[in-house]
Symmetry: none
Subunit: 186 residues, 4 copies
DNA sequence: CCTTAATCGAGACGGTACGTCGTGTCTTTAT
DNA sequence: ATAAAGACACGACGTACCGTCTCGATTAAGG
């Protein structure tokens, strides 16, 4: 008989089970029952923590996002820094999380939040430093660095993910950086 | 007793009922049963046409998108033309359709398509003319008009919709056009 | 694939499954789920007909009672007639039904009925003829035959069943007839 | 904060809480949780003493039965003595206990006992004296006083309670005594 | 014009998941 | 040691949809 889990250990087991279900079957076939089953626990344990599917999915996304905080690259060139980050996002679960986050209509209604805030809260994008270094190197014009411009390449990547449901080809990443982002900041 | 509908009339009634359900309750609470009920018909009639929820939703989105084809504005200035179009999108059901289209995971898997193609197939964006006129007026540099750049303001609007689930403030539209789009084409 | 049952056939299958569950596991461990399982159907089918456990149990008892209507003996002597009937009751499922009927508190509250009425409605005891024949034979004094006296041996048997939960020994049956019932009607 | 109870005081509090739950909600909706709640204690405290629902109910019935031992009337006439006792039973919780006792299938199975024994053990019916006095007064024929006959009016009352779930009308009590019991003992 | 075939409307069926509640076990804190 | 608080694993509850199916009634089209 496996010993009885509780507290944080149990919670992690639940969120991990949930994440595996999400990746294996997708949001549409994501089932509380399956999570309960996979985690080897019982409905009440789940519902005590998250009152419904959407709550659980949201918690799972945040949990997984927190576990996979991206490293901030430092290649010596803004272009490479930004591209590296985009490639990492493109290759990891952040992508899947982005798509899933759009499904949480119920949760957003309940809390007045939105997918963007969830992704931010999960700590998707700690990129301030990148730009500071680029400015220090004299690569870019500081006045042009509005928040919108800083977010631009990542917004476009996110848009690409949300409208193709597939990994974005590297050529597209370069196109975004070279023909949209860099011309605006130099 | 109202006489029995058939063929195209019945089909339109079903899609309209489906659309109303979608707008009133959202994708998550969208139910075949409710559509059947609202249309005053019976399950088989629905399933004869669309084999499952996602098929029906997809058909509904395409149907509604076709009904609401946007007019192409002609204000004499590219800035105003683009802004006008964005404002219209922002104010109409195209917005809702954009969000819904992301939910059709099942459908895309079955057909190898993606949300973007659905929106395009639905005829979201007939904007070629806008740019031709702007070039003719000498407002912009033709070589810079890559497909990506032409799509840029609309991609960013779409991204905004998909990450905020809310109407985009007019200020944001102007910011997109004035600080991102126009600088790249002039 | 077994063909789909409906209407009366399905209903009988459900009630039979329910009765088997009742006899095998008793009222306390009687489960809607188990009935659904055993009948190879699904919850809604059960709940469409009987809104809860008690409704189903009641229907099952009535159904089974109706199927096992006792024959009216004709031995030529009132003593033997009554004893024969009591022995039959004692040996058959009528006994179990008697015990179960007491458990239906919920049902009685809802309908203002009582265990007695359920048993009567199920047609437990069609014994009028017995007494008519005994009177015709001159065995007994008609004036003494009040309803209570006629019911007496069966009431006492029932009481015995309800307080012992076991088949009543034959000696007890005879004692009831010989020392209580017969002295009162001769 | 009220000080912590232990031993007999705690036990009585639990049984009283259980009895109140039983009378308020009936056996079917009787819940360990509710008893725990009402007694302001915790599950283990309950389960340490009674291993399951039926054990607790049984203990509660015995406890309550012991608290409500009936007085033995002495009116000078057997008829009145017996009727008085029946009326008391009819008016008190003994009635409810009778009904509940039938529900303890689990307990009986575990111990090889039966409802009758439980009621007897609880001391329901200390009526020997009644008959001794009646014999002494010359009211009745001693040889006829078999145990069955002595129990007869009470058995019939109990039967009535068990098949009607309601207080027995006074007329019925008199009918039992006058047309069944007394004719057999005079 | 009348039969024939299709499809409509109604609703039951077998299934899966939902979110809730109760049981009996167990751990932790503190009296 | 045991009370109180409360989590845990289990499993049934009754409900809601899904997608399939059977049935009789209606309608359109063809002989």
């Amino acid at each position: 008989m496996p010993e009885r889990r509780r507290g944080a250990a149990l919670e992690k087991a639940l969120l991990d089970a949930a994440w595996e279900e999400l990746t294996e079957h997708g949001y549409a076939r994501f089932t509380m029952d399956a999570v309960v089953q996979r985690a080897g626990t019982s409905p009440s344990v789940l519902y005590r923590r998250w009152s419904d599917r959407d709550e659980l999915v949201r918690a799972t996304l945040v949990h997984t996002l927190a576990e996979s905080r991206l490293g901030v690259p430092d290649t010596g060139s803004l272009r490479e820094d930004v591209l590296t980050l985009m490639r990492e996002i493109n290759a990891t679960r952040v992508q899947l999380i982005t798509v899933m986050s759009v499904h949480l209509a119920g949760y957003y209604q309940g809390t007045g939040t939105s997918p963007g805030e969830l992704l931010a809260a999960g700590g998707e994008n700690p990129v301030g430093v990148l730009f500071e270094r680029a400015v220090a190197r004299g690569e870019i014009t500081p006045e042009r660095l509005t928040p919108r411009i800083k977010a631009l390449p990542f917004d476009l990547l996110r848009h690409e993910v949300l409208t193709t449901f597939a990994p974005v080809p590297d050529g597209v990443l370069e196109e975004i950086v070279d023909t949209v982002f860099l011309p605006l900041v130099r």
